[in-house]
């Protein structure tokens, strides 16, 4: 599914948090959103998800203006937001449809993919921050959404687990061709995963630059091409350079 934002902005109590954001994601494209804390990345995702309808501008999915929540959109929030009264397995099956056994099998597969096989019966209070985040990843991926919004999905994970889960995300992407919008603070992650990176900047946040990463997948971490892209992204984030 394609996704298009036209001059999208959001004001809170008259004060703009983010302004004039326009971009288009073709079906199956992975778009990265980068920017300093508080520049409106989560706010943009909430607008795209349909949870927030108070934004200005137009958001189109498959070239049709949307208003409200779409069942085909999945959202992984910045916090895990697990339901504390459900165990890990039931949290992952929460949004699934079908009969019980099917749902549990599917959830079990995703839990195994995020390295949580054997933790199905634990309750959220028994999980570490990184475990909770991995459950949230499994929950978001299990519904195989056509548009997937990810708000710093790997922020609480160690470098090694993070790499494994980035590859899992690409695997899901290969199987389902989901269109993704990924918020991240991690430059390596952005260069490794994204087709295009949109750098936001300022308060209120505005689009500072768009960087296209044309390197074909599978990409190699630590290659010279990746290093060049990372340097470019870092330069665009550098707050000391004056911009017109």
């Amino acid at each position: 599914m394609s996704l298009q934002l036209e001059r999208v902005g959001r004001k809170f109590a008259g004060k703009a948090a983010v302004q004039d954001v326009s971009f288009r994601a073709e079906p199956g494209e992975i778009i990265g959103l980068l920017g300093t804390s508080g520049c409106g990345k989560s706010t943009l995702l909430r607008a795209i998800s349909g949870l927030d309808t108070e934004y200005d501008g137009v958001i189109e999915i498959n070239d049709e203006k949307v208003d409200g929540i779409q069942k085909t959109t999945g959202f992984m929030f910045q916090e895990p937001r697990l339901l504390p009264w459900l165990n890990v397995l039931d949290n992952v099956t929460f949004g699934l449809e079908g009969n019980r056994e099917e749902k549990q099998n599917k959830a079990g597969r995703y839990l195994q993919s995020v390295g949580l096989a054997g933790s199905e019966k634990l309750y959220p209070k028994q999980l570490s921050g990184g475990m909770a985040q991995r459950v949230a990843i499994a929950r978001a991926l299990a519904t195989s959404p056509e548009i997937l919004l990810l708000d710093e999905p790997f922020s609480a994970l160690d470098a090694f687990t993070k790499m494994q889960l980035q590859d899992l995300l690409l695997e899901v992407w290969r199987s389902f061709q989901s269109t993704m919008v990924l918020v991240t603070h991690d430059v390596d992650e952005a260069a490794y995963l994204c087709d295009r990176i949109i750098v936001l900047r300022g308060q209120p946040g505005k689009v500072e630059r768009e960087i296209t990463i044309s390197e074909p997948r599978p990409r190699e971490r630590g290659s010279s091409e990746q290093a060049a892209y990372k340097a470019e992204i870092l330069a665009s984030l550098d707050l000391t350079t004056e911009t017109a």
Binding site: S49, R81, F94, E102, R109, S113, K125, S144
Partner: protein, 281 residues
């Protein structure tokens, strides 16, 4: 397109089973039950001793053994079960009625803005009336029999349950509701799958304080006029100058009151095991 069930092979492999936890060793002397019985036991022993030494006059404060004897005597001649039974029955019925009314009104007011505007001011106004003030009116309307007593108790139970339901529903984390919305749940599903479980802790708090008030109100209702029940025993004890009957009744109230609270407490532990609460040291 993407809604099929195709497999995503894991990047992880299943890890080994977790080891069973070693059985916890506990100091038997710090068991809460033992700790909790130290003071009551001490009190009873001192009281018995002082009574035997005739420090307390028996016509005012009889010894624990005399009170126990009174209870055993009532159990033997069979009157005990009637008193305990009818009082428990009244509390139970009043509790059911009050809770049912609170669930219906509390959910309406909690879920719908308009229902809140419509009902809440009136309910709050009624709340500021001391509930015992209703007693004469209820007796006038329903006579001295069971209905007026059960209505009294229901009024007492209603308010704490109602208030806790309303605040429980109002306090459900917006972030969790958003999770449900993202999965396309409709209002009914949101209520059943998110709002109800999230407000359950508050509901149970309401139930427990409602039950406490139920026991308080049954005393008031039975003091007003009854021919059977623990409250009636209080009146009998007063009229026949028998403090052992009064204290026996008080002890019985304590025992069955605690028992009923314990049942709710078990229910609470069973249903709220997922709550992340701080443990005391």
């Amino acid at each position: 397109m993407a809604k099929n069930q195709s497999e995503v092979s894991g990047v992880f492999t299943a890890r080994g089973k977790r080891k069973p936890l070693a059985a916890k060793l506990k100091n038997p002397f710090t068991h809460p039950f033992l700790l909790g019985s130290i003071f009551p036991l001490l009190l009873v022993v001192v009281w018995e001793a002082l009574s035997r030494l005739e420090v307390f006059p028996a016509y005012q404060l009889p010894a624990p053994s005399v009170i126990l004897g009174t209870i055993v005597g009532m159990a033997e001649d069979g009157t005990l079960w009637g008193h305990v039974g009818i009082t428990s029955y009244r509390v139970f019925m009043g509790f059911l009625l009050g809770t049912a009314a609170a669930v219906v009104l509390g959910s309406l007011v909690g879920f719908y803005k308009h229902a809140e505007a419509l009902f809440d001011p009136l309910i709050q106004a009624f709340r500021s009336i001391p509930s015992l003030a209703w007693v004469p009116l209820f007796i006038l309307w329903m006579g001295i029999g069971e209905p007026s007593k059960i209505a009294m108790i229901a009024v007492g139970v209603f308010f704490p349950v109602y208030l806790n339901i309303v605040s429980g529903i109002g306090g459900v984390d917006r972030k969790l509701i958003e999770v449900g919305k993202m999965y396309g749940l409709n209002t009914f599903q949101l209520v059943r799958r998110i709002i109800l479980p999230a407000s359950l802790p508050s509901f149970l708090v309401g139930l427990r304080s409602g039950l406490g008030l139920g026991w308080m109100f049954v005393v008031a209702a039975e003091l007003m006029g009854a021919s059977q029940g623990l409250g009636y025993l209080l009146v009998v004890g007063q009229n026949t100058l028998a403090p052992e009957t009064i204290i026996a009744s008080i002890v019985l109230f304590a025992v069955i009151g605690k028992l009923s609270d314990w049942i709710l407490k078990i229910l609470e532990i069973r249903t709220l095991h997922w709550q992340d609460r701080a443990a005391k040291s």
